[in-house]
């Protein structure tokens, strides 16, 4: 079965610096992969590359059957990325944000409502503008947007950061459900005991390279 993500000797450059220096990685469908590694090792760049945001300077990268070196826009609507930034509109309410991001990929109103429910946001928080939310609540909103995306490949960068205990449980449950439903998840995280229990496989990223 063709791997969801296949990287071979991938080099990526950011501001002249090789953030990825020959990364090799294979990820199969349904896996929850944990990417561990010190700051600046290249975790974030790897996720952004898989999402088609970072150009492949050298090497080959195939995600969901799309060759990123040739055209890195084809893969985008099948991938969900939650980076350090939440990608939310501060002036809009929680419900408006999730509805907008769901609509960009054609999610129905029910799916949007389910996503809000899933992350415990359908109550009094829904009409509140994102600008007045706490960091944890914003993270939940961003996750709700990701759930509404129904992506085949989930890419999450330090998702547990800023979440309270309940939030982390919801997150883990969401990721397990997504993997069970056939999606593939890649999580970059420092929190080993938390993410370790969740992951089906752990890899180390050091100096822009991947070590099993």
């Amino acid at each position: 079965m063709e791997p969801v993500v296949h990287l071979a000797g991938v080099v990526a450059v950011l501001g002249g610096f090789p953030v990825l220096a020959g990364a090799d990685l294979r990820v199969e469908r349904g896996e929850i992969l944990l990417l561990r590694g010190p700051n600046g090792a290249g975790k974030t760049s790897l996720l952004r590359l898989c999402a088609g945001l970072l150009p492949v300077e050298r090497g080959d990268a195939t995600v969901l059957g799309c060759d990123l070196a040739a055209d890195r826009t084809a893969v985008r609507n099948r991938v969900g990325l939650l980076g350090h930034a939440n990608g939310l509109y501060a002036d809009l309410s929680v419900a408006d944000n999730v509805a907008f991001w769901g609509a960009t990929v054609g999610a129905s109103a029910e799916e949007v409502a389910a996503s809000l429910d899933r992350m415990g946001l359908s109550g009094r928080l829904a009409p509140v503008p994102v600008s007045r939310l706490s960091a944890g609540q914003r993270r939940r909103t961003a996750l709700a947007c990701l759930v509404a995306r129904r992506a085949e490949l989930w890419l999450l960068d330090e998702p547990h950061a800023g979440l309270d205990a309940a939030g982390r449980d919801d997150l883990d449950a969401t990721l397990r459900d997504a993997a069970a439903a056939g999606a593939t998840v890649m999580v970059a995280s420092h929190e080993l005991e938390r993410a370790g229990a969740l992951a089906t496989r752990v890899v180390e990223i050091v100096g822009g390279q991947v070590r099993e």
Binding site: L53, T73, N77, L81, G87, F100, G106, C145
Partner: protein
Amino acid sequence: MSTWRIARLIAAKDLRIELRSRVVTNQVLPFAALVMVMFAFALDNDAVLTRVAPGLVWLATMFSMLVLVQRTFAVESADGALDALQVAGVRPGGIFLGKSLALAVELAVLEVVLLIAAVVLYQADVAGSGVVLLVATFVAATTGLAFVGTLYGGLAAGAKGRETLLPLLMLPVVAPVLIGATRATEAAFGTNGATSSEGWPWVGLLVLFAALFGLGGTLAFGSLIDE
């Protein structure tokens, strides 16, 4: 998702943000009106003011547009929404048309205020037959400006330290709109004997400008915001 549906979705989102944040109504409109008053201080001769009123309206529009474009893309890059839009695989042409539509609506509101200011402050008056010409000029010029503003605003929003690039790139490009719209508005106002029939060739130029940059922008936008 067709490009038009995406465009409507993004335009609605932008306008809803504006309704919630009220930046245009509370900050940009007063700024534009203030610019018109400053012109009056600077030129302080009523005959001159009336004669150059059309030029001043469009100059104030240009400067206010820089602020509007910077605002509309600051909203996107504040929390990484521009990246999220790209990852959502939204057709760049749709983003371009959507943001242009929202920008055009904001520009139109701004131009109405400026026109009122011109009539009140500069005693500009529209000859009866000129009204049709005036509306046509404003619609064509606003569309062209919205396309150019969104296109070069997208490039400037790409990465840090690019905001200063926006005026350098955009202002030369809108020179034909400044010339065309001003001449057509003069014809509509009947300034120094201009008849409204003289204005229509300029409207033709504005329509051509809007069409070219509408097409060019839809094709080029994806590459310009790709960081």
